[in-house]
């Protein structure tokens, strides 16, 4: 794990560091996984809410700390009891009660706005230790296309995520789009995502779910409407047959090593349901639940060191494969456009 495999996102901190640390809290930094990026309706509204709350926090904190310093250092002499009384009643009771009531009302109204909205598309997301299954559903609830760890959304359309879990509690969170919602056994939680900007946004499981909770990432790609439709129909297709001799060999290794028992590659005998669907693996930017860039090198490394890279992962480590077999397998997987 020592090697730095991750491709830096759009957040070259401290390159975008503003003049002072405090200003940083205001401007933040538009990273792939940052709440400041605000590329969804809910995230944008919450960001505005944050700025307001943040402003209140700073003002009140400065006032209170200032009064403390004033009373103890600047002028530690006796002030009148009557003044102190007014100070407690106005500053400590009346103003906070009014302010808190306003905050409560705003919070509750915003909350109802961001839950239970209408949506035009249904996507079922299943949290599994330690990856995500995405199933695009039609109006009858039948699966149109299945993918894993990386999914696409059309911009300016509301999609409803149906959040379930296959094992323990997970929490689905793409900070740039919306707040998080937990995936809990026995429940189907809903979250409507309505992106306002195209782009690539990273998310991550937010509820501790076991040894490799830290490595349970996902990628949301927000596309314009045509791109999205093209992507979806491509995802719904079966896999392309392997084109080069190396990847034909790779497919043999895939099938002989029993990969198909857990992974599906639609259009081939591999139809396992336990692990991520690999039909269009090569169309994804990243592998291993958004942990590595998707290239031959990383695929080989992942196959040969699975358990070491992701402790507690269910997939066995295929270090018994020879280098040539690994290369062939990686080539096959790299062909699954």
């Amino acid at each position: 794990m020592a090697e730095k495999d991750w491709q830096p996102g759009e957040c070259p901190l401290p390159g975008c560091l503003p003049a002072t640390f405090w200003l940083l809290f205001l401007s933040g930094c538009a990273g792939e996984q940052s709440t400041y990026t605000a590329a969804g309706v809910e995230a944008a509204s919450t960001l505005t809410l944050y700025y307001w709350l943040f402003a209140c926090v700073i003002v009140v904190w400065l006032l209170l700390a200032g009064i403390f310093v004033y009373a103890t250092r600047v002028r530690p002499k006796i002030h009148s009891e009557k003044g102190a009384s007014i100070f407690v009643i106005v500053g400590g009771i009346v103003l906070p009660t009014l302010a808190l009531t306003v905050i409560a009302i705003v919070g509750i109204i915003l909350m109802t706005q961001h839950r239970g909205q209408e949506a035009v598309r249904d996507i079922r997301v299943t949290g599994e230790q330690y990856w995500w299954r995405f199933e695009y559903l039609d109006h009858e609830g039948k699966v149109i296309a299945e993918t894993a760890n990386e999914f696409a959304l059309p911009v300016a359309e509301a999609s409803r995520m149906h959040l379930i879990t296959a094992d323990v509690i997970h929490s689905f969170w793409v900070p740039a789009l919306a707040g998080k919602v937990d995936m809990i056994p026995g429940r189907i939680n809903e979250l409507v995502l309505e992106p306002i900007r195209t782009g690539r946004y990273r998310g991550q499981c937010a509820e501790f779910c076991g040894a490799s909770h830290a490595l349970m990432g996902l990628v949301a790609k927000v596309k314009n409407s045509e791109d999205f439709q093209r992507w979806l129909s491509a995802q719904a297709d079966d896999a392309r047959p392997p084109a080069t001799p190396l990847s034909v060999r790779g497919q043999q290794v895939f099938l002989q090593s029993g990969c198909g028992a857990c992974h599906a590659v639609r259009g081939t005998p591999a139809n396992g349901r336990l692990g991520p669907d690999l039909t269009h693996l090569a169309s994804r930017d990243r592998i291993a639940a958004a942990t590595f860039a998707n290239d031959q090198d990383k695929i080989r490394r992942w196959l040969a060191h699975t358990g070491q890279i992701k402790p507690g992962v269910q997939m066995p480590t295929f270090d018994m494969l020879s280098d040539t077999e690994l290369a062939a397998l990686a080539a096959y997987l790299g062909d699954l456009q």
Binding site: T101, A104, I108, R115, E190
Partner: protein, 125 residues
Amino acid sequence: MMPVNLMEYGLWRLLAGPALAALHFVVSYGATGIFCERSDNADALLTLRYGLGAFTLVILALIALVTLLAWQQGGFLQKAQDRHTEDSAEGRHAFLAHITVLISALSFVGVAMISLPILLVGSCS
């Protein structure tokens, strides 16, 4: 077999406001949970909101009553306040009455704030 010392005026009255607020919370929270888990019918929810709204008003009225009674018992007069540090049964009485007024008033504000969702939230999701 009640703890006799607690039967005296002060401490029970003191707890009346918080107890009413607690009752209000348990009923509101429990009813909402049961309604939303067991029936997703919008009309049912409306009934629930009216019911809880009325219940809230009753609780608020009762807390107001407790506050008022304690106030009348001398809890909030400036003269009485000077006696709070007094080493006498009257001082203790005035103190407890004053605390009762304060606690009940806080319970009132608490109940009012916690009822905001009844006013503002129209669906279970």
